[in-house]
Amino acid sequence: MDTERAVVPAALMAALAAACPAVREGDPAADAVTGGLVPAFAASPASTGEASALLRTAAEYGLAVMPRGAGTGLGWGAAPSACDLVVDMTAMDQVIEHAAGDLVARVQAGVTMGNLASVLASAGQQLAIDAPADATVGGVVATGTAGPRRFRYGAPRDLLIGITVVRADGVVAHSGGKVVKNVAGYDLGKLFSGSQGTLGLITEVTFRLHPLPAAVAWVTGDFGPSALAGAASAVTSAAGSALVPSAVELLWTGPPAVLRVGVLLEGTPSGVAERARRMAELLTAAGGTPVVAISETPFRWWEQDAESGPPGTVVRVTYWVRQLADVLDALARAGASAGIRPAVGGPAGAGALYARLDPAAEDDTAARFVRALRDRLSGVFAGSADGSGLSRGSMAVLAAPTAVLAAAGADQPVPGLDLMRAVKDQFDPGHRMCPGRFPWGR
């Protein structure tokens, strides 16, 4: 390895350029990754073939590689321990095929969500993932980004039906196809969704699409600061109702502290109107005397997030919805003991909430919050243990300054960790793809 590193950069640059002409030296302003590391090279392949040649060359020289889309999610995850080459996917920005009659689209990984949405909208269709419009499809898949409509449509893994990846050694592999129903072979799309670039480079994806709804309505219920139980019960009854909501969100910010439950209904104009009326009754009946309203205005807290710059410390809590009130209580108590108030929001009805700390918060305070929350939640999840070893919920630090991650200690153990490490070792035996991205990873 040492001898490989000793190769003069000029020769290395020439080798990379032979594989992928659009290669340049890394730029501290444009290419710095989490933690401030500046890659020596940035390359922008125009095809899966170029990407393959590029990764083959990177493998020959033992380079640490990080795939990048629009860069909207680069600040998430732990800081990589090494990054010699950034692979910028934004030149692969084509919608290869939109088979409207089959409700399927095959796209290059660098297509932005916004561009894809406008192509699909012309046929009255959509990719039912809520993500920032300037994020790339590949980035959304690699990070497993899913917004409010996760409740009904799931995460990218649930809508992805085919994938092309380039392995760390440059080998190109496909799985799935362009039909929705398909069980031939292992589903690499599932494995690469949410893998944060640590298993390989995603170059093409095929998605299942959905028709755009003719009408939408958001039913919101605003609960006062003392009505935590009422808000939790509104979430569970909305999520369990036969009115088929597309999203069941909870937003808890302040001051003044307000718990807002937001339920999205999609369908025909008359159907949505009737369902919204009944959903409003359901939220009111949950208790806690909420102020209920019906509106077409989207409940888009996640877009504000995307615009607000580096994420600071963000923790995701997943849970069985029966325990939502306990989870909210744990968040409140952890905030009180650390002396900071997290902004909490997310697809509460789908079993997930994000707690976000003010990016200006002191590292000590943020670390105290993370530790306190972990303690509180382990009490909550221990309470529902059934002796089978199943923890009915988990907590993951999705983003945090390196100092906070170090001071806060390890995440709760992820189930199946040994198997995850074994998968990583198989796909990337040299540990060159985004090393260190997962706090538990390699």
């Binding site: 497993g144 050694d169 129903k181 690499l188 369990g240 159907g271 998968v423």
Partner: protein, 490 residues
């Protein structure tokens, strides 16, 4: 009958200790009852059958096999149609039928925890008092096991709208191929780290054995409407399907049967489908009352415009069950009109249905082999039933040829060799027609991570096994096991 191998024979006392003497089968006649699953054309008598009663018993059984380097295969209800649970003559068959309890229903979280041997339908039955149901509904749901559904990523008629097993399982307790118990997923439905849960589901029993399953339950729909529509030809029916989807409507199910399969179903269950129809379309809509009514009238007029010769509706559960009985019995029913048959499972993009049906018709005409078509029209999943007489020399081979040619036709249209029955032993030889060597090699990296010794249901899915000691892409030196004379590359 192959004599029990020494390695397996040596395991018998340990297996009796783990599972109890009554739950270890060694009698040759009893062993023979496990020689195949729902795909009876492949048979292999297992060396030993064990029926563990708990997750830790499964773990101990697997650990004993791993230590003795004896291959093992898990089996649920044995209804699989690709030979995924075909036993090994030199291995242990681990039968999950004693582990069939519904461990817990959490109606507030809309989750159930079930054991792998529980039948698919028993989950919905247990959830019904809470106004909930388990959505995946393979036609064999009365007998097939949830553990088997996980292995195959089973669908069913209603997966068009509600998705497959992988969309409804949020946690799995598994025994790894080395015999360790672990969970994948926390049951919430949101995963941390790699989505091993998603990779495991549909891996056809090759990555481990499931011992507990957390499933999502859904609220029972407010209303369900079923339309039965008759057409003169399948292409008229196909037009209706395209028009419905084109109108932005996603029915819970859209199924089609052609004249021959209607005839078979009629003989078997007297489902009273319209006499003389060239095709029958079943369209089921479910959801909130406020939406389904309007969708129903749109679907009805689209069906009429496509040339419907008769439309019937069924809104109450008994009427719907009567109509569904015809469809769900179709596979078994062709036994009434043919001494033998092959159930095929191919997929095409929905818009290619007409083209592929025409190709099937000409394949049938050229070969003289009759083909009855039953299909999940909404998602392009065809189940051609290739009919033949095994008493006539050469017919079985001719039928097999037609069956393979149908898969080629599906692949030409950009489809898949299996939509829900799995690859198993039956279709591993077709995998190279759909995937390149690098694709298959990469998939097997997952296998190597879970099962480096290749003992867990070996010989399924992949036409050529991969030796896991090889470093990907760097095959400079022979594999250590090959060099040592312990393994051969075939």
């Amino acid at each position: 009958m192959v004599a029990m191998t020494t390695a397996v024979e040596a395991l018998v006392p340990r297996m009796r200790e783990i599972c109890g003497p009554d739950n270890v089968v060694t009698d040759p006649l009893d062993l023979r009852t496990y020689e195949c699953d729902g795909l009876t054309s492949h048979r292999s008598v297992p060396a030993l059958v064990v029926l563990p009663g708990t997750a830790s018993e499964v773990a101990s059984v697997v650990a004993a096999c791993a230590a003795a380097r004896v291959p093992f295969v898990a089996r649920g209800s044995g209804t699989g149609l690709s030979g995924g649970a075909l036993p090994r003559e030199d291995g242990v068959l681990i039968v999950m039928s004693r582990m069939r309890s519904i461990v817990e229903i959490d109606p507030v979280s809309r989750r159930a925890i079930v054991e792998p041997g529980a039948t698919n339908l028993s989950v919905s039955k247990a959830a019904a008092p809470f106004g909930l149901f388990y959505a995946p509904d393979p036609s064999s749901q009365v007998v097939c096991s949830v553990g088997g559904n996980v292995a195959e990523n089973s669908g069913g008629a209603h997966c068009l709208k509600h998705g497959f097993t992988v969309h409804h399982v949020t946690g799995l307790q598994i025994v790894t191929p080395s015999g360790e118990l672990t969970w994948l997923g926390d049951g919430s439905g949101v995963c941390s780290g790699y989505d091993l849960l998603g990779a495991f589901i549909g891996s056809e029993g090759t990555l481990g054995i499931v011992t507990k399953i957390v499933v999502k339950l859904m609220p029972l729909p407010e209303v369900v409407h079923l339309l039965l529509v008759a057409y003169d030809t399948t292409s008229h029916g196909g037009q209706a399907v395209s028009d419905i989807i084109g109108a932005g409507i996603l029915p819970a199910a859209i199924e089609m049967m052609d004249a021959l399969s209607i005839e078979a179903a009629e003989e078997a269950v007297h489902c009273n489908y319209p006499a003389g129809a060239g095709a029958v379309l079943l369209v089921e809509l479910d959801g909130p009352a406020a939406e389904v009514g309007a969708e129903m009238s749109t679907v009805r007029s689209l069906c009429e415009a496509a040339g419907a010769t008769e439309i019937r509706t069924a809104d109450d559960p008994a009427d719907r069950a009567g109509i569904w009985a015809g469809r769900k019995s179709a596979f078994a029913a062709v036994g009434r009109i043919s001494p033998a048959y092959i159930v095929q499972d191919g997929v095409v993009p929905r818009t290619s249905l007409g083209a592929v049906l025409a190709q099937i018709a000409s394949l049938s005409a050229e070969s003289g082999i009759r083909v009855a078509n039953v299909f999940h029209a909404g998602d392009g999943n065809l189940h051609p039933l290739v009919l033949y007489d095994d008493a006539v020399p050469g017919q079985a081979e001719a039928a097999e040829k037609v069956s393979g040619a149908i898969l080629d036709a599906c692949l030409e249209q950009g489809g898949s060799i299996t939509g829900e029955h799995g690859v198993g032993v039956d279709k591993s030889r077709y995998m190279p027609r759909m995937f390149g060597a690098d694709d298959l090699d990469t998939m097997q990296l997952v296998r190597c991570a879970f099962d480096p010794a290749s003992l867990c249901n070996p010989g399924k899915i992949f036409p050529t096994p991969r030796l896991c000691g090889e470093v990907p892409g760097h095959r400079r030196a022979p594999h250590p096991a090959v060099a040592a004379g312990q393994a051969e590359i075939f």
